[in-house]
Amino acid sequence: MFKNFNLGSSESATAHWWLQRVTAIMLIPIACYLVIALMSSVIHGNNIQSFVFSNPVVLLLGITISMYHAVLGIQVIIEDYVSCLILRRWIILLVKFITIVSVAASILAIIVSVKNNF
């Protein structure tokens, strides 16, 4: 039982499953908003005014929750398709690292944009 103890997902599998579902339900409305906000900014140019629909609170929630949901999902995919356990661990670690850095950058940007508005 303890032989493969720390080789799989880092938390318990049940919590993983539940968090995936809970974030999925939360994301149904938020992700629609997020896609509209981010896509419209790409179409309308490259200044901050192009983020017409970007309520900072919803943007923060959207990016954080969807990144978390993405990490949970990609972890499952990697565990299914990468059979070498050491490589599997490193890839999951890499994905988590990239995600955390991206979320941190987005949160910093949101805070700065709120501060600039006042």
Partner: protein, 131 residues
């Protein structure tokens, strides 16, 4: 440490099977998840750059790439993946409660989801490009 997962007997190769539509949706669900992840990374970094470094060279290059033909094609794929992931994800939630496993419902849902994805993608890009 054990380097590889335990040697288990393998099932026949994927080409042997004629995949049912549900299986095709299932694998596209995973694929679309990965595409959505990359798109989200790209757009969240773009947002951070727009706020923090609005006049940087990298942002101009990025914008130039995003509105090029390849960029637009990627975003078409991205929105399509989004609709697929959204609709099939909602079906997954129903499946978790044990609803919708009858073959009749499965086939109906496949057609419904497929048509809705195409419809929504076309509508979205019609609005973006022509309105």
């Amino acid at each position: 440490m054990q380097r590889f997962a335990k040697k288990l007997p393998l099932s026949p190769h994927v080409q042997i099977y004629r995949l049912p539509w549900v299986a095709i949706f299932s694998i596209s669900h995973r694929l679309s998840g990965i595409i959505l992840f990359f798109g989200l990374l790209l757009l969240s970094w773009r947002y951070a750059l727009v706020v923090l470094q609005p006049h940087s060279c990298i942002l101009h290059t990025l914008n130039y790439c995003l509105v090029s033909k390849v960029g637009i094609a990627f975003f078409m794929l991205w929105t399509m993946s989004f609709y697929l992931h959204l609709l099939h994800g909602i079906r997954h939630l129903f499946w978790d409660f044990g609803i919708g496993f009858k073959l009749k419902y499965l086939n109906l849902c496949n057609v419904l989801i497929g048509l809705t994805i195409i419809f929504l993608t076309v509508i979205t890009w019609f609005i973006i490009l022509y309105v």
